[in-house]
C-alpha cells in the first residue's frame, strides 16, 4: 500500500478542527490565536506535513506529540516561518496569527519572528555575555533606547525565566558558561525579552535532567498567563503535566487534537491510543 493511501484513509480530512474547550482549570473559553488550515509542507519532493488544520488557543499550552520523524518540528517551524531558511522547504496552506496570514507576501518574516519566539531543543545561547544574550533581541527590534531600559528588560526577562537570582552577579560572563538547564532558561529569557505573543518550544527539556526539567515546566506554567505556548515533547508525562491541549501527529498527519485530559484518557483514534500507551513510536 502506498503512503498516500494510508494518509487518505486517515481521519485528518474527516475530523474538523476540534472545537476549543477550556481546560479544566480555566473558566473562560480561549480565543483562537493561531489558525492553521490545510497546511502541506514539502522538503523538495518529499511531503513532511499533509493537510494539517488546527486552531491554537491564546494563553494556553498546546503540546505536539508523536513518533520521531512525524513532522512535529516541521509544523512548529511553519508557525514562525523558520522553514524559510531551508531552501528546499515549501509550505502551502494558510496559517493565520490573530487573523493575519503569516505567509502573506506582505508579511515580513523578520518581524513575525519577533512576535513568535522560539526555544530550540539544544540550548543555544549566543557566545556573548548573559546580559547581551537577553538584550540582543530588544536592541535589534529598537525596543530599548538607553541603558536603563535595557537593564530593566534584562532583569524582567531573567526574572520571568526564573534565572535572575542565579545570574544577577555574573551578567558579564558568557552565556555558554552556564549549566545546560540554566542555558535553556536563558534561551527562554532571550525569547520573552522581545515580548512575543507566542513562544514555540521544540523539545526544550530533552537535554536536561529531571530537576532542570521540573523548573522549566514550572516556568512554562507561569508563562502561560501571558503567552501562547506550543511545546513539542516526547514525554507523555510532560505533555500531561504542562499542556491544556494536545495534538498528536503521525506520518505528517494530524491524527487528533483536543483537550489534554481527553487525549490521554479517552482518545478517539486507535493510533493515538497505541502511541500514548507506548505500543509504537
Amino acid at each position: 500500500m502506498s503512503e498516500n493511501a494510508i494518509l487518505r484513509a486517515g481521519p485528518s480530512r474527516v475530523v474538523a478542527p476540534v472545537p476549543i474547550v477550556s481546560a479544566a482549570a480555566q473558566t473562560q473559553p480561549h480565543r483562537v490565536n493561531i489558525a492553521a488550515s490545510h497546511v502541506d509542507v514539502f522538503y523538495a519532493a518529499k511531503q513532511a506535513i499533509v493537510d494539517v488544520s488546527i486552531d491554537i488557543g491564546e494563553h494556553q499550552v498546546t503540546a505536539f506529540i508523536g513518533p520521531s520523524g512525524c513532522g512535529k518540528s516541521t509544523f512548529l517551524r511553519c508557525l514562525n516561518r523558520m522553514n524559510d531558511t531551508i531552501p528546499i522547504c515549501r509550505v502551502t496552506g494558510r496559517i493565520a496569527i490573530d487573523g493575519e496570514d503569516i505567509y502573506d507576501p506582505g508579511m515580513d518574516p523578520v518581524q513575525l519572528r519577533a512576535r513568535v519566539g522560539m526555544v530550540f531543543q539544544k540550548p543555544n545561547p549566543f557566545p556573548k555575555a548573559i546580559y547581551e544574550n537577553v538584550a540582543y533581541g530588544p536592541r535589534i527590534h529598537g525596543m530599548i533606547g538607553n541603558r536603563a531600559e535595557a537593564d530593566e528588560i534584562v532583569e524582567r526577562s531573567l526574572r520571568a525565566a526564573a534565572l535572575w537570582d542565579e545570574v544577577k552577579d555574573r551578567l558579564d560572563e558568557p552565556g555558554t558558561s552556564l549549566s545546560g538547564g540554566q542555558q535553556q532558561r536563558l534561551c527562554i529569557a532571550r525569547a520573552i525579552a522581545v515580548s512575543p505573543e507566542v513562544i514555540l518550544m521544540d523539545e526544550p527539556c530533552s537535554a536536561l535532567d529531571p530537576i532542570a526539567t521540573a523548573r522549566i515546566e514550572e516556568l512554562i506554567d507561569e508563562l502561560r498567563q501571558n503567552y501562547t505556548i506550543i511545546i513539542v515533547t516526547h514525554s507523555m508525562q510532560q505533555a500531561a503535566r504542562v499542556s491544556q491541549r494536545t495534538a498528536f501527529f503521525h506520518l505528517g498527519v494530524l491524527v487528533e487534537a483536543g483537550d489534554t485530559e481527553t487525549i490521554f484518557t479517552n482518545p478517539r483514534d486507535g493510533r493515538t491510543q497505541d502511541y500514548i500507551t507506548g505500543r509504537f513510536g
Binding site: Q111, R113, F126, P127, I140, T176
Partner: protein, 530 residues
C-alpha cells in the same frame, strides 16, 4: 528485536586481553611515529635555520677603522665663511687622504696611497662631510673618526681565512737596506724553519738551496717588534732578501717569522693591505660593531653599503596593497557564497573555479599583471601598487577558501538562534557568524599574506627585480621586495654578498615570524567558545 543475549561469554575473555595489548601497542607505535615525524621536521628546521644563521650573522656586523682626521680649515673652508654650500662642496677626499698619510707616513707612492684609500668604504668622505655639516665646529680640530671599512677588509676580518703562523726568530737580526730591497742576516740557520716549510709545501720553489718566492706561493715574512714588516722574495737557510711593506728600525730587538697562506695571488687582499690591516689592528684601530647600515639603507653595488631597508619597505607597501584589495574582496565573496548565495549549478561552478584559481602557478598571475595592469591600465612598472595588485589576485582564492571554511564551521544553531530572535540575515551574519568566523578568516588571511610575502616569480614579471638604491617613499615609487632582493644578492658576484643574502633571508624569516605571531595573537583575542 531478539531476546537471546549475544554470546559474549568465557571463550572470548583471553582474546580480549590480547586484543587490548595489541591495541595499546598500536597506539604506542602511532604516538611514536608522530613524535618521530615532529622530531624530523624540527631537525630539518634547525639545520636549515642554523645554516642560514651561520652564513648570515656576519652581515649584522660591520668592521670600522679608526682614523685620526684633522679637519683643517684651509682645506675645508679656506675663506672661513662656514657657509653650508662651501662646507658641502669641500673636497673631503683630500682631508681623508691627508689623514691616511698621517697614519702611514711611509706610504708615499700615489698608487699605494690609492690602495690605502681603498681599505675604507667609498662612503668615507660622505661621512666626513656629514660630520662637518652637522657640526661645523669640528673644523680646526683633529678627531678619531671610525670609518666603515671596505668590503674586502670587512670580509678579511670576519672570514678570518688568511692563516698567519708566527714563530719567534732566533739571534740578532741585521737589516741592510738597498732602496726598497733589504737583505736580512741573523746568524747561521736563522731561516731553516721557513725553508723547511716551503720545501715541504712546494719543493719546486727551491733550487740549489735557495727559495724564490712569488705571488703564487705562500707569503714568507719577517715582522719586527716595532711594527716593521718585510716580505721575503728569496731566501736560503741562512740569509734572505725582501721588500719593505712597513719600514722597521735598523736593528730591531725582537723579530718573528710569518708564514701567510693562501698565496697572495689567491686572495683579494694583497700583502701590502694585509700589512696595513695588521698594523691598524695592532694599534686597536679596527673594531667590529653592529651593522646599522643593513637596516638603514637600500641596495647598493658596494656590499658594505647595501641594506635591506628598501626591500623591507617595498615588501610592506606591497603587502598593504595586497591586504587592502584581497581581504575585503575575499571576505565579501566568501560571506556571499556561504551565507546568501543559492546552492545551484552556477555557485558550484564558481566554487570549482575558485579552487582552481588557488592552484594556478604564481607566475601566471605575473603574466596577467604584466599584460593587464601594466599593459592595459598603464600602472607604473616596478611599483608596489602593481605588485600588490598581482599578489592580491593570487591571495584572493586562499582567503575566500579559508573564510568559507571558517564561516561553514560556525555551528548552525547560532544562526538558528539569531534568526529565531528575528535577526535579519545580514544581522545574523554581522552580529553572530562573523565574530565567530573571524579567527579562522584572519588565520587564512595571514597565511595568504605570508605566501604573498615570499613570492618572487609574479613580481619579476612586472619589473620589481630592478636594482633600486632608494628606499621607496610611496606606492608608485620603484621598489623591490625582500625575496627579490634575496634573489638579486644571491646572484651578485662579490663574496660579501653571500652573507648579505643569508642576512636578508633571516630578515624575511623574522618578518614571517612576526606575521604568524600576529595571527596567533589575533586568534587568541577573537576566539570564543560556543
Amino acid at each position: 528485536m531478539t531476546d537471546a543475549p549475544l554470546p559474549i561469554a568465557s571463550p572470548r575473555r583471553p582474546n580480549l586481553s590480547r586484543r587490548r595489548a595489541r591495541r595499546r601497542a598500536a597506539e604506542r607505535r602511532f604516538r611514536w611515529y608522530g613524535m618521530a615525524a615532529i622530531g624530523f621536521a624540527l631537525l630539518v628546521l634547525v639545520v636549515l635555520i642554523g645554516g642560514i644563521v651561520r652564513t648570515g650573522y656576519g652581515a649584522f656586523l660591520a668592521t670600522e677603522i679608526g682614523i685620526d682626521v684633522a679637519f683643517e680649515a684651509e682645506t675645508i673652508d679656506p675663506a672661513g665663511t662656514r657657509a653650508p654650500a662651501t662646507l658641502s662642496d669641500a673636497n673631503y677626499r683630500t682631508v681623508l687622504r691627508k689623514a691616511l698619510a698621517g697614519a702611514f707616513p711611509q706610504v708615499t707612492a700615489q698608487r699605494d696611497q690609492q690602495a690605502l684609500m681603498g681599505m675604507l668604504s667609498s662612503s668615507a668622505d660622505f661621512r666626513l662631510r656629514g660630520m662637518v655639516l652637522d657640526n661645523p665646529s669640528v673644523i680646526g680640530t683633529t678627531q678619531r673618526v671610525w670609518l666603515k671599512a671596505s668590503a674586502d677588509i670587512d670580509t678579511l676580518r670576519k672570514a678570518d681565512d688568511i692563516a698567519v703562523a708566527t714563530t719567534a726568530g732566533a739571534g740578532a737580526l741585521q737589516l741592510l737596506a738597498d732602496g726598497a730591497t733589504v737583505t736580512l742576516r741573523a746568524g747561521p740557520g736563522a731561516f731553516t724553519g721557513l725553508f723547511a716549510d716551503l720545501a715541504a709545501r712546494r719543493p719546486d720553489a727551491v733550487t740549489n738551496g735557495r727559495a724564490t718566492l712569488g705571488s703564487h706561493l705562500p707569503g714568507y715574512m719577517v715582522e719586527t717588534a716595532d711594527g716593521g714588516l718585510l716580505r721575503l722574495t728569496s731566501f736560503t737557510a741562512n740569509e734572505a732578501t725582501g721588500d719593505i711593506l712597513l719600514a722597521p728600525e735598523a736593528a730591531p730587538a725582537q723579530w718573528f717569522t710569518l708564514i701567510v697562506s693562501p698565496p697572495e695571488g689567491d686572495r683579494r687582499i694583497d700583502d701590502r693591505e694585509l700589512a696595513w690591516y695588521r698594523a691598524l689592528d695592532a694599534q686597536g684601530r679596527v673594531r667590529t660593531v653592529f651593522n646599522t647600515t643593513l637596516f638603514t639603507s637600500a641596495d647598493s653595488r658596494e656590499p658594505e653599503l647595501a641594506g635591506v631597508r628598501g626591500a623591507v619597505v617595498g615588501s610592506l607597501l606591497t603587502l598593504v596593497i595586497c591586504l587592502l584589495l584581497s581581504f575585503p574582496l575575499g571576505v565579501m565573496a566568501a560571506v556571499y557564497l556561504e551565507e546568501f548565495a543559492p546552492k545551484n549549478r552556477w555557485t558550484d561552478l564558481i566554487e570549482v573555479n575558485i579552487n582552481n584559481l588557488a592552484a594556478v602557478p604564481s607566475i601566471v598571475f605575473g603574466l596577467l599583471g604584466l599584460a593587464v595592469l601594466l599593459g592595459f591600465f598603464g600602472m607604473p612598472r616596478s611599483a608596489p601598487f602593481a605588485g600588490g595588485t598581482v599578489l592580491a589576485l593570487m591571495t584572493l582564492p586562499t582567503i575566500i577558501i579559508a573564510a568559507r571554511a571558517a564561516l561553514g564551521a560556525v555551528p548552525p544553531s547560532i544562526r538558528e538562534a539569531a534568526m529565531g530572535m528575528g535577526a535579519s540575515p545580514l544581522q545574523t551574519v554581522l552580529h553572530h557568524v562573523m565574530p565567530l568566523a573571524l579567527p579562522g578568516i584572519l588565520t587564512g588571511t595571514i597565511i595568504g599574506m605570508a605566501r604573498a610575502l615570499g613570492e618572487t616569480a609574479p613580481l619579476l614579471m612586472i619589473g620589481m627585480v630592478a636594482f633600486i638604491v632608494d628606499v621607496p617613499g610611496g606606492f608608485t615609487d620603484p621598489a623591490t621586495v625582500l625575496p627579490v632582493q634575496i634573489y638579486l644578492w644571491a646572484d651578485a658576484p662579490e663574496r660579501a654578498f653571500v652573507e648579505k643574502t643569508s642576512a636578508a633571508i633571516l630578515v624575511l624569516l623574522a618578518f614571517l615570524v612576526v606575521m604568524n605571531l600576529a595571527a596567533v595573537i589575533l586568534r587568541r583575542r577573537f576566539e570564543r567558545r560556543w
